[in-house]
Symmetry: C2
Subunit: 354 residues, 2 copies
Amino acid sequence: MPSDPVLVIGGGPAGLEAARNVAELGTRVVLVEARQQLGGTPEADNYASLTPNFEDAGDAMRRMAAAVTGNPLAELRLNARVVRSERAAAGFRVTLSGAQGEEALDVSAIIVATGFTHFDPASANQSYGYYEFPDVITLPEAEKMLKEHRFVKPSTGEAPERVCFVQCVGSRDRRIGNEYCSKVCCGVASKEAIEIRRLLPDCKVTIFYIDMRMYGHWEHEIYWPAQEQYHVNYVRGVISEILPKGGRLIVRGEDTTMGRPMEIAMDVVVLSVGMVPSAGTKEIGKILRIDQDKWGFIATPGGALNTVVTSGEGIFVAGAAAGPKDLEDSVSMAGAAASKAVAFGRRRALAAAR
Amino acid sequence: MPSDPVLVIGGGPAGLEAARNVAELGTRVVLVEARQQLGGTPEADNYASLTPNFEDAGDAMRRMAAAVTGNPLAELRLNARVVRSERAAAGFRVTLSGAQGEEALDVSAIIVATGFTHFDPASANQSYGYYEFPDVITLPEAEKMLKEHRFVKPSTGEAPERVCFVQCVGSRDRRIGNEYCSKVCCGVASKEAIEIRRLLPDCKVTIFYIDMRMYGHWEHEIYWPAQEQYHVNYVRGVISEILPKGGRLIVRGEDTTMGRPMEIAMDVVVLSVGMVPSAGTKEIGKILRIDQDKWGFIATPGGALNTVVTSGEGIFVAGAAAGPKDLEDSVSMAGAAASKAVAFGRRRALAAAR
């Protein structure tokens, strides 16, 4: 009872794992990726290593891609996008647009894995000076330097003596409308802090935070080693302002544990920017006519007990297209979405055969 | 190409969702549950409502159970346990022991969903007086009262005027060897605090915490409403001692935000006990001869990018049997484990047919 293939939209960790699972269930799958490369944000944004296990991000993404490209039931469409979708008797007729023009495709079910993008500090107020001061950078910019096994002060190219991370930039912030916590930034900042300390043992690294959200095993896998083994300095505080002074950056705020104002000179300030929906996520929701939440993430009306179901029958979601997710979430959701998508196609095919 | 059924061990949220997914993929499934009832810990421990969505826990578990019992491809074995397992050509031969004696079963793959149990404060030091003072209770004991729509001071049966939660009991605690964070207790305590405030609008409710780990959407779905709408009082502090005084409990510790010692009288103290492996989880790892971590949770050597694979080929894990997990984790892992288990059986059957 062969049915039409499942369509997976997005070739990052969630999309790759979803496509792999569909193919391993014996169902054909077509994976559409807008970029030339598989690997999603870890690949596009030059991740050095993954949180929490420090595995080389390039190796990990290549391994995940190989599990898809090595399966004869999986087909790729790189440099391609879904531009239209109509419901059909057996599922959906979607139109892809790519280098070779348009292609119509009949698919049995759809998995959306279009991911997130990093919050742009320019979209908030300018209190952190991201566009004014070259030595104020973001988590992915730090990640890119770490991938090249160097970490410098951008304005001089020299090794910094003092680096700090400012948590919750673009998250937990009602003024800009991002009330949610982005879930992974505490872990990612701690991972990067460890990597900076490994590269530059004389560099002092501080993390300014509200709550360290090192849930589950991140607590002892990252948070404790960061403090005890790598001597990363965690300061519970609120940063209100960053100003230049004598070639350095003055970080002003309040140490909320000590209950006193603080003013500390730093060479590099890393803004721990959170997750917002990617352009692809915002767009695909409209094309597929499925509900999105107020931020543009794909809505999951099934809640905690039905994590991958969208408002559209036969359309499932995996990973950060559905909101802030860590890699474990993305991979587990991908497996679940594959299971539900194949089951949906099977049910439709059974009904049609009757 | 019909293969032997998949065996799912455990009838809580993860096991039910795994069994449902296997059956919906067109594969037979046998669900073994040690208790007489399906529904796992939410059912056994009388959960009032679920975190984060406040859905009635009984309704939710009945709905999940019905999705399994209503599928003709699913068979139940209640009051039964796996007592032996041997590898066989096509998968496994397992022996169940139940009310009707022993039963041998050939299965193609196994999903372990044996869950967690709540940390027992008696297993730590006695500084919180759980076994000395009747008004010191645990999260599940509070939950049970909330399910009955009453919340009283156990020693008198009267409505309390002041209630506090003490976070991280049995978690993030190296002295007792539980270094991990149990992930859900911040959310569950906040949910219970809201329920207490709904029942007893004059009762003052305080949560003593180290970090509020309200990741992702829990931030605005629970944490902000708890503070703004229900006026739950969050105090960042460390509780060192609980002592009786004049019919109340004196909670002694340090307010780490204000940097000063505190001593507050409470009517009821709720210990936010974390997750430890259930007896069933500790036992099944040995019976199936798969690796367990130092706490007894089922090890997942694939890490963040392969969340449900155990050290045993063809044996998968879902939910809190694998460590601290919230409901979303459990349900997503269950779908992923179902996908991998069915794919494993399919691969074996294909190989055997050659």
